[in-house]
């Protein structure tokens, strides 16, 4: 585990993927009270709800449970593994839990909240802490922001001693616990920078009866831009939690996010791709996806983009919206034709081209025998595709 390797005090625990492993872990830890924790890449697990994946029947309230006996470990582990956990951060569809963490109990004097993150406002690493540890930090932030204490780290100097003391004292720590807190912060900040984290959240951070600070639960997210210098990240990913098409899109250099609607979009540029979705909605349609083919897409990428869009069974029509800058409209037009032919496209297709070589692009589309509907601007394109799929219902 990252935190332990970085020297942050954590409780003894065992990672499990089956109920039997969980029971063995209980015996091995030798602690009468243990925490049984769902491991998914989202927060709010304690307050979440477990459901059966297909029928969506409620199995259990809470994705993190305290077990006082081996029998309880068995019950909780069975209720969690293979089931769906819906939390405030997973969205309605929830996430299937394939991993459990069985953790030894500890003597808790107080629970705190601690997080390190890159703050966009100060353009710096921000450390936030609160005495209100436990499960509701979003609510603390909303209702009692004064209970959240912050320090901003100067990137070219690093975390300073007084900053650690100030933050610890704001939490009411003193003596041994203040010292333990400072040491923990140093380790965490070093890890944050070395591992290119985007956010490290410890919730709860506890002060034990012996005045030691221990991280009970943590959530770490990384900066995807830094992937090139962290080959170890692949081991930390749970690909089963990620959308298969989103992974494949990323491998081809496309940026794709699946949505719930029925109009597929293929756009160049992230901002324009978002705006295209927005305008589809504005004219009464529902976008099926976000898809940015980037600034320099080639014919092959356009084809992959189409195949990814068409894998979504909900898609009833496609809107292509390209503002050719460096990318030339004639190349896009050829790519669109090649892709629609290769994939024998059956759903209606509206293509809006603008920018570099737009006339050549339009001429190429017009000369094809394919059923492609041209549009001059985004609004016209969105209105056309909405009308076309409405006509089919």
């Amino acid at each position: 585990m990252l935190l332990r390797d970085a020297g942050v005090p954590v409780l003894e625990g065992v990672h499990c993927t089956t109920v039997d492993e969980a029971l063995n872990a209980y015996d091995a830890l030798g602690s009468k009270v243990v925490a049984v924790k769902s491991q998914i890449h989202a927060g709010g697990r304690g307050k979440g709800t477990m459901y059966t994946p297909g029928t969506k029947d409620v199995v259990m309230e809470g994705g993190v449970k305290i077990a006082f006996s081996k029998d309880e470990v068995k019950t909780y582990a069975s209720n969690i593994l293979g089931n769906l956990l819906v939390t405030i951060q997973t969205g309605g569809e929830g996430k299937i839990v394939n991993n459990l963490y069985i953790e030894a109990g500890c003597d808790i004097a107080h629970e705190y909240y601690l997080a390190l993150l890159v703050d966009r406002d100060t353009k710096s690493v921000l450390i936030m802490a609160s005495t209100e540890g436990g499960m509701d930090i979003e609510e603390v932030a909303e209702h009692t922001p004064e209970l959240i204490h912050k320090v901003v780290v100067d990137a070219n100097i690093g975390l300073l001693g007084f900053q650690k003391r100030d933050l610890g004292m704001a939490l009411g720590l003193s003596g041994a616990s203040l010292k333990s807190f400072g040491k923990m912060l140093s380790s965490m900040y070093t890890m944050f920078c070395a591992e290119d984290c985007a956010m490290v959240e410890i919730n709860p951070l506890v002060r034990t009866g012996a005045d030691e600070m221990v991280a009970l639960d943590a959530k770490v997210s990384f900066d995807e831009n830094a992937e090139f210098r962290h080959k170890n990240w692949d081991d930390l990913r749970d690909l089963s939690e990620e959308e298969d098409t989103e992974i494949r899109a990323k491998e081809t250099g496309l940026s794709y996010v699946k949505l719930d609607g029925n109009i597929g979009c293929l756009v160049n540029g992230a901002g324009l791709a978002m705006a295209t979705m927005d305008v589809i909605k504005l004219y009464g349609g529902e976008p099926a996806n976000f898809l940015d083919v980037g600034g320099g897409a080639n014919e092959e990428q356009v084809k992959t983009a189409f195949s990814i869009i068409l894998e979504d069974q909900n898609v009833k029509g496609i809107l292509v919206n390209i503002f050719g800058g460096i990318m030339r409209c004639d190349i896009i037009a050829r790519g669109v034709i090649a892709a629609t032919e290769a994939l024998s496209l059956e759903v209606p297709l509206v293509v809006r081209l603008a920018g570099t070589n737009v006339d050549e692009g339009k001429a190429i589309l017009a000369s094809s025998t394919l059923n492609i509907h041209p549009a001059d601007d985004l609004a016209e394109g969105a209105q056309k595709i909405v009308a076309l799929i409405g006509g089919e219902q």
Binding site: R120, D121, K123, N156, N225, G325
Partner: protein, 307 residues
Amino acid sequence: MAIWIEEDAKVLVQGITGKQGMFHADKMVEYGTQIVGGCTPGKGGQTVELQGKQFPVWHSMTEAITATDADATVIYVPPPFAAEAIMEAADAFDSLKGEGVIVCITEGIPTLDMVKAVAYVDNRPGVRLIGPNCPGIITPGASGGAKIGIMPGHIHAKGRIGIVSKSGTLTYEAVAQTMSIDEGQSTCVGIGGDPVNGTGFIECLAAFEHDSQTEAIIMIGEIGGNAEQEAAAWAADNVTKPIVGFVAGATAPPGKRMGHAGAIISGGKGTAEEKFAAFRAAGIACAMDPSELGKVLLESLKTAGLR
């Protein structure tokens, strides 16, 4: 006058010997940008051919600025080395001239590298960073002009509308929309879609407000963070020129990164709805559809007695 970059600005290209750098340097020369050479460590002394002319390459930014007295540099260096390229340029501009504009096009720079680079640039008050992960900055001229970045030059024309945007292709949409109502642009700035960047909306608005050529402003934001809200609040008190706004991402689901590293709604904050509301509260005329920016701009110009 325009903002930060005059039509005849002297521009260097960092990463000029790379594929991207050379391609775009060529396009910039074609547009009329006064490219004065480039910098690639280890390749000093070579030359690069752009539009049939030879341009010098230097080992370092200190050498390059000393030799050319450049006003600006544009960076096409790959992500692992881009933050250092920014800092090298900042140091050279600061020590040699006390001022300079750095435009970083590179997408995918690690955020913590940018945290350092931005702090480094901020310690050198005469130096301005635009980007990263942006289309760049363009000041169209009566003929030619200064195009510093990757935007298609031919869609622009000199005029009185200032444009600032987080998104590249949406900036082009905005440019096309101004042209659709026979208006040109003073300067168009892409500030980039990364969570940690250089120049922000407020600095752009302030510069447009003080620029005599600019008479109205288009501001385009997107989901994530609260730069748009802060800029709108600031504009309400400080900007007298009409502003037209659009925010992309009204249909974006929470917690998902929409292409740009910074375009994410987290903890229910940074939604398009929130940003549009802030725009309206500040008296910014909003287009709900980027194809209506021209129409909304025209109305704003008429209301202000500018048409």
